[in-house]
Amino acid sequence: MKARRRGTTLLETIVLMGAIAVMLAVAVTSIQALVAVERANRREATADLKIDRLAAAFRDDVHAARGQSLVQAGPEATLTLDLGAGRAAVYVAGPGGVRVEHRPGGEAPARVERFAPAGCRVALAEVPAEAGAPARLRLTIRRGEGQPEAVALRVEAVPGRDRPDFAAATGEGRP
């Protein structure tokens, strides 16, 4: 009797293995879920950074512009900003994101940046002047479907604001 009860019983071993299996299953599924959440977080953070960079570049270019033309062709909008001294910035926006081309003028090759974080749509528009607001250019960045905030960012910049002659140019309407 005493000899038979020494050591682990089969039942004990089975219960132990069952408990370990349950714990492992819980651990693996929750770690998988956590890793997925973390990955999504990181992707969003990267997209936010890209959106920031695009917004800053757009605002700078619009502020420096001496002239602009916006051509809407189907789903694509092309904004050409004349930066003076033969330099230009071209923004081609569409459902697949935006392509930014900086032409330094002369023979130097253009610097092209593509901006298309997953599922982002970019739209360009001219906003006419109204009471209490001058004309401006608008860049809207939308996140893909099913995102919490559909509009990630909306940049509205007044063209030519950084030009030295800006005050004189807009001064016509001043009292």
């Binding site: 770690i31 605002r59 401006r136 001043r174």
Partner: protein, 145 residues
């Protein structure tokens, strides 16, 4: 009545097995809870960053508009009616916009100091310290009040 020593050891062993499993489960739960907490913090930090990004962009938008106005229109009273756009209000819970403009002759140049401040409800529900952008618009002699 003395229990035989072998039975004693066995009873102790059985108890030890239960304690082992319970301790294992508790450690696992503690680690998972800590990881979830960390993720919650990182999510909150990301939301905070996004709010700040929205607020900064919105403040720049407002400053762009306001500084392009004629200097005569740059008074706190004339700018008081400005509000956050509908989208910005949706992105910034409880967001409020304050625009002030006052004469400022710092540096010997007659100018108007235009300040844009945006605040919104933070994580605790209280308004965060406002994000402020300031610009100076020079006023030519004839336009000076």
């Amino acid at each position: 009545m003395r229990t035989p020593p072998v039975r004693n050891r066995l009873a102790a062993r059985r108890g030890f097995f239960l304690v082992e499993v319970t301790a294992g489960v508790l450690v696992l739960l503690a680690v998972l809870a800590m990881t979830v907490q960390l993720l919650a913090w990182s999510g909150a930090a990301r939301r905070e960053t996004r709010h700040r990004q929205w607020a900064l962009n919105e403040a720049q938008n407002v400053l762009d508009l306001v500084t392009a106005l004629p200097p005569a229109a740059l008074t706190t009273e004339a700018l008081a009616g400005r509000k956050l756009g509908e989208r910005a209000e949706r992105a910034l819970p409880g967001g409020t916009l304050t625009v002030t403009a006052e004469p400022d002759a710092a540096g010997g140049v007659a100018s108007r100091r235009v300040a844009v401040a945006i605040t919104w409800r933070g994580r605790s529900g209280a308004p965060v310290s406002p994000l402020r952008l300031v610009a100076w618009v020079p006023v030519s002699e004839g336009e000076a009040p």
